[in-house]
């Protein structure tokens, strides 16, 4: 029973990583860049909930909506201002810019909210579920249900809709996509919008799980989700989902049965082993040579 309960909370943590990893992997797939500011968007999303619900006193659902809107606008704006001018620059410049954006967002949060940990308001009110001696946290249940819905909808969107197909076309060949009448700029904006909206949702779950937020709160889940995306195969959407969930489970079980201090080391160790055995990640496609 204890194992099952650890497994389920690992699953729920993994679902949060998966939501974040989706943003990394979609942006990588379409814009071919690693957006290291992605984790900080989560932190801004969590602070938005804090400001609207705890400080301004709005109801929880307004907090969620505000957070999704703020993150979406932020993500699209970051792309337009910081990354778009570097579309043809070398990848190292883009990477350094992304790290710069990350520090910028942390500094803005530091200026507005200060450096201390602030307690995250309760936005998810769900009672624990008892199945015999097994108790599942309400928070975990809500996280798992919402994340599953999001993943199903996202998968259908990417595979079945006209816009989703256009996104795949852009990720494969930008010039050819433009010749089909697909605007690469708009597609990249859309990708940042979706990734950042998912980050907002992840921020709410993360804040609810750990109960606090500070200006650096996005850094660790950001890195873990990046690891999850690479683990699953960067650029692959099912890969990000699988990578995130496996990472959450491994982390939680390591904490429970091996050592809390070593949990992160184990997570990164597993990544290294996977990359040695399969360099493209679990579900990564092999990189095709351009003819």
């Amino acid at each position: 029973m204890e194992f099952l309960s650890n497994l389920i909370s690992g699953l729920s943590l993994g679902a949060i990583y998966a939501l974040i990893a989706l943003g990394y992997t979609m942006v990588y797939g379409i814009a071919k860049m690693l957006n290291f500011a992605h984790g900080d968007v989560i932190m801004i999303g969590a602070f938005t909930v804090l400001a609207t619900v705890a400080t301004a006193g709005f109801p929880w659902y307004i907090g969620i909506i505000a957070s999704v809107i703020v993150c979406t606008v932020l993500g699209v704006t970051i792309e337009k201002i910081a990354y778009k001018p570097l579309r043809k620059a070398n990848p190292l410049s883009v990477l350094i810019t992304a790290i710069g954006v990350s520090y910028f967002l942390q500094s803005v949060a530091l200026l507005i909210f200060g450096s201390g940990k602030q307690s995250f308001p309760t936005v998810i009110k769900a009672n624990p579920i008892k199945l015999g001696s097994l108790i599942i946290q309400g928070n975990s249940v809500v996280t798992l249900i919402i994340t599953t819905i999001i993943m199903v909808v996202l998968t259908l969107f990417i595979n079945k809709t006209r816009l989703g197909k256009a996104m795949r076309a852009v990720s494969e060949d930008k010039d050819a996509a433009e010749l089909m009448g697909i605007s690469v700029n708009r597609t990249i904006s859309l990708t940042f919008a979706i990734g950042s909206a998912l980050a907002a949702v992840a921020g709410i779950f993360y804040g609810s799980t750990y109960g606090f937020v500070d200006p650096y709160a996005g850094a660790m889940p950001g890195i873990k989700a990046f690891v999850a995306a690479v683990f699953g195969g960067i650029g692959s959407i099912p890969g990000a989902m699988l990578g995130g969930i496996l990472l959450g489970i491994i982390e939680n079980l390591s904490k429970a049965y091996i050592s809390t201090d070593l949990a992160d080391a184990i997570v990164f160790g597993v990544l290294i082993v996977v990359l040695i055995v399969k360099p493209t990640g679990l579900l990564g496609k092999k990189i095709r040579e351009k003819v």
Binding site: R162, A169, E172, D173, D175, A176, L179, M180, G181, V184
Partner: protein, 233 residues
């Protein structure tokens, strides 16, 4: 004239790839653009479709200046470009590639897909197959079929015969002729000068980024200079 390009000068950094290139394509024509490897043929097509910009001059299509139009808007204006090397979406099935060809079409696309399958029955047999697994000839058919999905007024083809066995080259040229008969104007880039001149109403010869010669297909086939340089004696 349907397409008029005047005084194009295109650079890749320091490389002056197109030097004062002017040419035109009339409605209903097949115009060929021939020249050796590196002459600037692909650069010319990319400049027309907005993937590259000319430093000077103008490009007009159906009376409208398109020299500053973003490339993704071209297909809606009736200009389709089948790029060199086909550039089909390798990881998508044949059917989705065709759907992408009709990305900007508002209406029902099943009729367009039927039309493509009528010309290329082999694509219909493989409609669920991932495009990257098609043979070279089938990929070229898909690239042309995909471009036809937008029902273009002007179809620009960049070396459609490249790397194909002679029998497939025949087949591709036959399809080009059929599309032309059905009312599509064609701008054809080829290294295979003999075939291109045979099918073209008019042709331009590019040499090191300059238009060196122009005339009707028949005239150029008779020209001693062309025979020597491009038709193997």
């Amino acid at each position: 004239m349907m397409l008029e390009a005047n005084h194009l000068n295109v650079y890749y950094g320091n490389i002056h790839a197109l030097k004062d290139v002017s040419f035109s394509v009339g409605e209903g024509e097949i115009v060929a653009l021939i020249g050796a490897n590196g002459a600037g043929k692909s650069t010319t097509l990319k400049t027309i479709s907005g993937m590259l910009r000319s430093q000077t001059g103008s490009i007009s299509f159906l009376g409208e200046d398109i020299s500053k139009t973003e490339s993704f808007r071209m297909v809606n204006k009736g200009l389709a470009h089948v790029p060199e090397g086909r550039r089909i979406f390798q990881q998508m099935p044949v059917m989705e590639n065709l759907e992408m060809g009709a990305y900007t079409s508002k209406g029902d696309i099943t009729e367009g897909i039927k039309e493509v399958f009528r010309h290329f029955p082999r694509l219909e047999e493989r409609k669920k197959q991932i495009a990257g697994t098609l043979s070279g000839g089938e990929q070229q058919m898909l690239a042309i079929g995909r471009a036809m999905m937008s029902k273009p007024k002007l179809l620009m083809l960049d070396e459609p015969s490249m790397g194909l066995a002679p029998i497939l080259v025949e087949e591709i040229f036959e399809i080009i002729r059929l599309f032309h008969e059905a009312g599509t104007t064609i701008l054809l880039v080829e290294q295979n000068a003999g075939k291109a001149l045979a099918i073209a109403n008019r042709a331009y010869v590019l040499e090191s980024g300059r238009i060196a010669l122009t005339g009707t297909g028949a005239e150029l086939m008779q020209s001693e200079a062309i025979k020597k340089a491009y038709l193997g004696g």
